[in-house]
Amino acid sequence: MSDIKTVLDETPFQTAGPFLHIGCLPNAINIEGIFDTDLGVKPFANKDYGKFITITGSVFDGDGKALDDIMLESWQSDENGVYSPECGFARFVPDTLTKKFNLYTLKPGFINDIDGKAQSPHILLSISSRGLNMTLNTRIYFEGDDLTSDPLLSTVRNSRNNVSSLVAKKIDEDIFLFDIFLQGDKETIFLDI
């Protein structure tokens, strides 16, 4: 019986440090000729149909400084709310000049989970960097979608938190803004996934 099997401790996290590009995005820092392409350059590489959107934003530290020595990873369903292991993952970094990241991807759909609950369209986003002893996780939801019955957002509301830091603002047709605040009055809600 699996109930009585010993549960081992998970290997602890450690910071990804300031040089994470070497292992995760070598081509992006001109270490060329080892891996053909960096992982997660395009979340839906084999798709050119469906509604694509751009999500842009910055990650701010406690001094309000926009950071560029960080790595973001995203994981999402397709436009029909279906997860498939070979697509939906992206890995990206902010531009070193503008400090903004851009994620060009399919707008995810509503997800019908096996327990009968429906999740509103969202993207799971993780942030790794120097100074972060563990990778942080949050979610991007979208302004304009029905967010009333999403199970996670209900949990957030029940813990008396404001969900607004999890909702990307529509700033143009097909363009959403999602800024992340690591600390301070506007601190983003992070998730114990």
Binding site: T11, P12, I34, F35, D36, E73, N133, V156, T188
Partner: protein, 240 residues
Amino acid sequence: MVEALIKRNLKTHPQLNFPDYKSSILRAPNNKKISYSSTSTELSGPIFNKKIIGKLDNDLTLNFSKNNIIPIGHKIIVYGTISDQFSNPIEGALIEIWQANAAGKYLHYNDKNEAPIDPNFAGCGRYITSSKGYYEFITIQPGPYPYPNRGIEWRPMHIHFSVFGKNFGQRLITQMYFEGDPLINSCPMVNSIPDEKAQKSLISTLDASRSNTQKLLSYKFDIILRGTNQTFFENRKEGL
């Protein structure tokens, strides 16, 4: 029945806000993270095809070498298994590693240390685990290096690991240390983990017999990713 990730035991993970590690002061969030029941989002995840792995991807002594010149330093083997919290081996896990060269220098524009780069060593590798969860890298023993923290301090010798298991809930980024390194005990990044046994689990052990057989110092580092439990529907009706 539905699956749920085993809840993280935060005592076995580093504290986010750990002022001895200065960079954490302005980056660690102050509010408590929100816990919630696993959804299909965390229980699914990218799975990478073995086809992406090139022949030399896990040999850091050859994957950046020019004219077959071996990088300077001690050539070592780093190997181990990836399994979940119930000891089930995980096949198909992607491991990416990065590290400094023998002189403690990274091939990176942000590394300001006055140490030489090695033109034959980039310090990156990757591998996808076999059916028994096994992985193996051939590399160069990374050097320790000074860095600014509370004044100048020294990082113990280490290799960074990024791991993808079967779902996003298993995603792990960590560092592996080397048995016997006297710099481990004073490292604030290691000490940010409250549990001593958890700290020790990041230290690879020297495999004497393999080191002798293969004429390369061999270090074993096993990695444990989160497990999942079967649970009942939360909203199940009486009698069902």
